[in-house]
Amino acid sequence: MNKIKIISGIIAVMILTITLYSCTAQRAAASKKSGAQLWGENCIRCHNIPSPGDYNDVDWETIGLHMRIRANLTEEEIVKIVEFMKTVN
C-alpha cells in the first residue's frame, strides 16, 4: 500500500508541475490557429500525427467526420484540420 501511495504522490507532483508549465505557454483560441497547428496539437492526444499523404482528399473528409465524433473535436477544429490535410497531401 505504501508503494501505491508513493507512486501516486510522484504522479500527482508530476501532473501539477506539467500543468503549471503548460499554463505559461502561449494561449490562443482555435479560431486564431491554423489547420497545421491544430493537426499537431489534437491528433497526438491519442495517436501519432498522421501523414497527410496516406489518404486522399475524399478519405480525409470521411476520417475527419469520424474523428470529429470519436475524439470530440469542435467543428472549427476539424474543418481547419481537414482543409490542411487536403492542401498538403
Binding site: I15, T62, I63
Partner: protein, 385 residues
Amino acid sequence: MRTIAAAGLLFLLFFGPDIFAQDFKPSKTQFMIRGYGHSGLNYEKVNDEDPDVSYVGATFAPMFLFKHSDRLLFEAELEFELEDGEVKVGFEYANFNYVLNKYITARAGKFLLPFGTFMERLHPAWINRLSTLPLGFGHDGVAPSSGIGVELRGSAPIGSGKINYSLYMINGPVLVTSAMDPEEAGMLRFENFEDNNGNKAVGGRLGVLPLSNSSVELGVSFYNGLAGNTGSQYENVAASLYALDFSYVKQISAIKGILDIKAQYTQSNVSDANYYEMAPGDTIPVSYTFANTSNAYFAQLSYRPSMASGFIKNVEIVGRYSTLATPEGAEWEQEASQFAIGVNYWLSWRSVLKFSYQITESVGGHGNTGANTTKGMFAHWALGF
C-alpha cells in the same frame, strides 16, 4: 476507316481527360475500411511453474466507415482473434452518428462507452503503448467498454480552452447471480444485448481541456442503473460507477520529445445482496453477502525523443502502473498490482514494434486464495490501417 479511327483518337486526346475526370468525380457517399491488427510472442511465468511461451494475437480488427453525408456517418468494427485454439469473432460496435449542429451529435446503436478514456480512445493495439491492458480492463474488468442505446455528445470552445461531453442511455449492466455462475456472483456483466429489466442505465462524461494547446484533459464519468433481473430477489440491486481520467500530451522542446501521460481511476459500487454457495458436504446452499465495491486505476508515462535525428527519434520508452481491488468476501476477491515497462520502435506513425516486461502481484482471484507473482515478456507488432 483510318480517318475515322484517327479522328476518334484525336477526340480522346483532346476531350478524354475531361470525360474521365467526370467519371472519377467522387461521390457524395463514401465507404472506407480502416482498423488495426497485431501479432506477437508472449512469455508468461506464474510463480515457479514452467513458463508459457506462445505466439499470440494474429488479431484483425476491421472498422467500416460509411459517410452518407457531411452529417451522417455509420461506423462498425469486428474483431477476429485466435484464442484457445479457435477463431473468435467480436462485434465491437455498430452505430449511426448524426451531427445535429455545431455542438451536438446524436448516436444510436452499439458504441464504445466514454467511461474514462481508455476503452473508447486508447485500447486499439496500434494506439496502446503496451502489449497488455491495464488491470481492471478487459475480461473481469471493472470498467464497461461498450453498450447498446442512444447518446448525445459534442464539444464546444470555452475561452481559450474547450469542453467535451457525452450523455447516454443504454441497456445497462447485468448482475451475475449464484445461479448464473457461483464463482462470479456479484460481478457486473456489461454486454447486455437484451435488457434484463425495465431500467435503462444512464451515463456520461465531461472532459475539460483548460489550455489552448489541448495538451491537458481532465475528465469525470458516471454510469448508473439497475442490474438485477426483473421479478428476481435482485431486481432492486443497483450499480453505480464513476471514473476520473487525466491526459497530458505535448512535444516539449526542453526535453526534445513528446511526453505522454495517461491515468484513470475507476470505482464500482453495487448494492448489497445475498448470494449462495454450496460448502463441501452440504446439501443446502449457504447464504453470504459482502460489500460489493471494486476499484482500479492506472497511470502511464511514455517519452519519445521525436526532435532527435536518425534511429533514436522513432524509439519510445513507456512505463505503466495499475492496480485492481475487488470485494473482500466475494468468490472473486482479489488484490492485484502490476508494473509494466517497455521500449517501442515506430516504423511509421501507425506501425509499431513493442517490447515489454511486466510483473503482476496478486492475492486471490477466481478459485485462488494464495499469492501469485506473474512475470511476462511480450514482443508484439501492431499496425493501424
